[in-house]
């Protein structure tokens, strides 16, 4: 039908934007490699920065020697090795894991609910984890299980319980309509937040109240290898299951009728993905506290620049999320050293203006 080609196109501005966008979209695998490189650079810098500043070159040599790559004598103060291996590296690794999980989870929730406001915290992960953690802090729960300490375990269980409650409350006749889910989420989140605040209010101990507040705003100050080991299996299992469904998430961007007619078992797949993403986020949040904004914004930024294909969106969001949280955590612990800024403050202050800039620059629909 040649006549359609001679049809006037709808506005030249679209075309210009299109060319710009296509540079990103055509070369997207190159950008993924760049992001991977940037993550390694960021991680190195994150290990270098801190109360004791270690030159990045020394960081690489210490890590290299530890991994058995580099021979040669240790020409650095022995304290550096201890600081890196016991404190900074687990902290950077944990920041990367949490950032990756939150960003991927955000992308999954936005696709599953076909809603640009969806994020890991919408269906109770954050409020449930906060409530669980607050209970554990208030009643000084010292029990642990496996590698879990009391606060992390309570947060993990709280996150899963809240998600389960919201999801089952929203089910109507074997289906889970998105609007019902979001409304149930808003209500349960409000209830749990109120309960958390009440627990804080009823506490007489200012030190523990600060502990709760610190947890609510997110912090990786207590990171160690034990936490990495504890969280890793859940995060890896969740992310693997999600990656396996990357194409299905593309199909789910259409309405449910179309997804079903393309051979996707919609309700079953959605249920499976929600379990996977909830396990991974609950585990991440249980060690980091409620770090806001990464899960909401990173997938949007990636989608704005590189398009909505989840086979790319998921890994790229994961990398960008990890980079962002490593940078944010480095800023949190160095800007006002020796005091630590809450991580959630850094992610919001840095993330929101950048996101708004991108949103304003893009003149088209973004979702």
């Amino acid at each position: 039908m040649p006549s359609s080609r001679s049809r006037p196109l709808s506005g030249d501005s679209h075309l210009k934007g299109d060319c710009h966008l296509n540079l990103f979209r055509r070369r997207r695998w190159l950008f993924l490699a760049l992001a991977l490189g940037l993550l390694l650079v960021t991680a190195t810098l994150g290990m270098a920065w801190g109360a004791v500043s270690i030159p990045p070159g020394a960081v690489l040599r210490i890590v290299g020697q530890r991994l058995g790559f580099a021979a040669g004598a240790a020409d650095w103060p022995p304290a550096w090795g201890t600081i890196l291996l016991e404190i900074r590296i687990p902290r950077v690794v944990l920041a990367g894991l949490v950032g990756m999980t939150l960003a991927v989870a955000g992308a999954v929730y936005q696709a599953l609910f076909r809603n640009p406001l969806a994020e890991p915290y919408l269906i109770g992960v954050s409020s449930g984890a906060s409530f669980g953690a607050t209970l554990a802090i208030v009643f000084i729960w010292r029990f642990g299980w496996g590698g879990w300490n009391g606060v992390s375990l309570a947060a993990f269980v709280g996150a899963l319980a809240a998600t389960g409650a919201i999801y089952s409350l929203a089910r109507v006749g074997g289906r889970t309509p998105v609007t019902t889910l979001i409304l149930a989420g808003v209500a349960v989140n409000a209830l749990l937040s109120a309960a958390t605040v009440f627990l804080m209010f009823s506490m007489q101990d200012a030190f523990r109240a600060m502990h709760v507040l610190g947890w609510l705003m997110g912090s990786l100050a207590l990171a160690d290898w034990e936490k990495v080991r504890t969280v890793l299996p859940y995060v890896l299992a969740g992310l693997a299951l999600i990656s396996w469904h990357a194409h299905t998430l593309n199909v789910l961007q259409l309405d449910e009728e179309q997804a079903q007619s393309l051979g996707v078992a919609v309700e079953r797949t959605k249920g499976l993905l929600i379990v996977a993403v909830s396990l991974a986020t609950a585990a991440a949040v249980s060690v980091s506290g409620a770090v806001g904004f990464v899960g909401l914004i990173v997938p949007h930024i990636v989608r704005l620049l590189w398009g909505p294909d989840h086979r790319f969106l998921l890994p790229m969001s994961g990398l960008v999320g990890a980079i962002c949280l490593i940078l944010a955590d480095s800023a949190a612990r160095t800007l006002f050293s020796p005091r630590e800024l809450p991580l959630g403050v850094v992610t919001a202050v840095a993330g929101a203006p950048f996101f708004l800039y991108l949103l304003r620059r893009q003149k088209r629909e973004v979702f």
Binding site: S10, D18, W244, N250, L254, S261, R303
Partner: protein
């Protein structure tokens, strides 16, 4: 074996939704390579019949069989290789490119991790060429005109390589050039590839021109089924639509009817 079974067999189908009976004892068969046009006034149950054929609902009474088996009993992936549905005004996110949208049609064929193989790309390319959109494959869906969008949706359905195509008003909001282009293509696909097509059409003249047979649905009941010349009788149309019409046989098209409203 399978080729002996009709693509679609509907027998005494009754379906109620929210306590309202939408379809009453409907029976029809769809043959391979045939274009069956589904016509009738608004709310007659045309789209519902299409959805039942696609397996979205279970009949209250009677049977629907797709290639010999109720669609609700097919495994979803298997079913999607037999039947493609294009719902009316189907939503595709504006940020998808044309190519990405058409490649979604390959979903029931994709293997582990959903990576498209060369066969998948070839099928998508072929479908884009059929609908004349190959040059626009990098465009965003949000930038397309209504006719282009509709052609992309059709290409996605054809990329599924189905043996049966269910289309819900594929030509609404299109100008006559694009209406004819889409329906000619559908006819060609039926003829050349033996695809059975059940298509809901609003425009009686388009239905009369492009369908091999017509099924006229009124208030959930099938009142006529057969050759357009038989179905589109002026007295019947006048009774069904509540508006007097005149019907003329077209000498240029084997005497197929052309329908015009009468002014009182």
């Amino acid at each position: 074996m399978k080729s002996e079974v009709n693509p679609l067999e509907v027998e005494n189908l009754t379906f109620a939704y929210d306590g309202r009976t939408v379809l009453r004892r409907v029976s029809l068969q769809l043959m391979p390579g045939e274009v069956l046009g589904l016509i009738g006034p608004n709310g007659a149950g045309k789209s519902t019949l299409l959805r039942l054929a696609a397996g979205f609902f279970r009949p209250n009474a009677g049977t629907v069989r797709l290639f010999g088996r109720p669609p609700t009993q097919w495994p979803p992936r298997e079913l999607a290789r037999q039947v493609a549905l294009v719902p009316q005004g189907a939503y595709v996110p504006p940020t998808f490119t044309v190519w990405e949208s058409v490649l979604l049609g390959r979903t029931p064929y994709l293997g582990f991790l959903g990576v498209p193989r060369e066969a998948d790309r070839a099928a998508a390319r072929r479908a884009l060429e059929w609908v004349g959109m190959a040059d626009l494959s990098e465009r965003l869906m949000g930038e397309l005109s209504g006719g282009e969008r509709q052609r992309v949706l059709l290409a996605r359905a054809l990329a599924q390589e189905p043996r049966c195509l269910l289309l819900d008003e594929p030509t609404t909001h299109l100008d006559i050039h694009h209406q004819v282009a889409i329906l000619s293509l559908i006819r060609r696909m039926a003829l050349e590839h033996g695809i059975a097509v059940l298509v809901v059409l609003h425009d009686l003249n388009l239905a009369a021109t492009f369908a091999d047979r017509l099924a006229l649905l009124v208030d959930g009941t099938l009142v006529a089924l057969g050759d357009p010349r038989e179905v589109l009788r002026p007295e019947r149309l006048t009774a069904v639509y509540g508006n007097a019409v005149a019907v003329f046989p077209r000498p240029d098209n084997g005497g197929r009817p052309a329908i015009l409203p009468r002014v009182a």
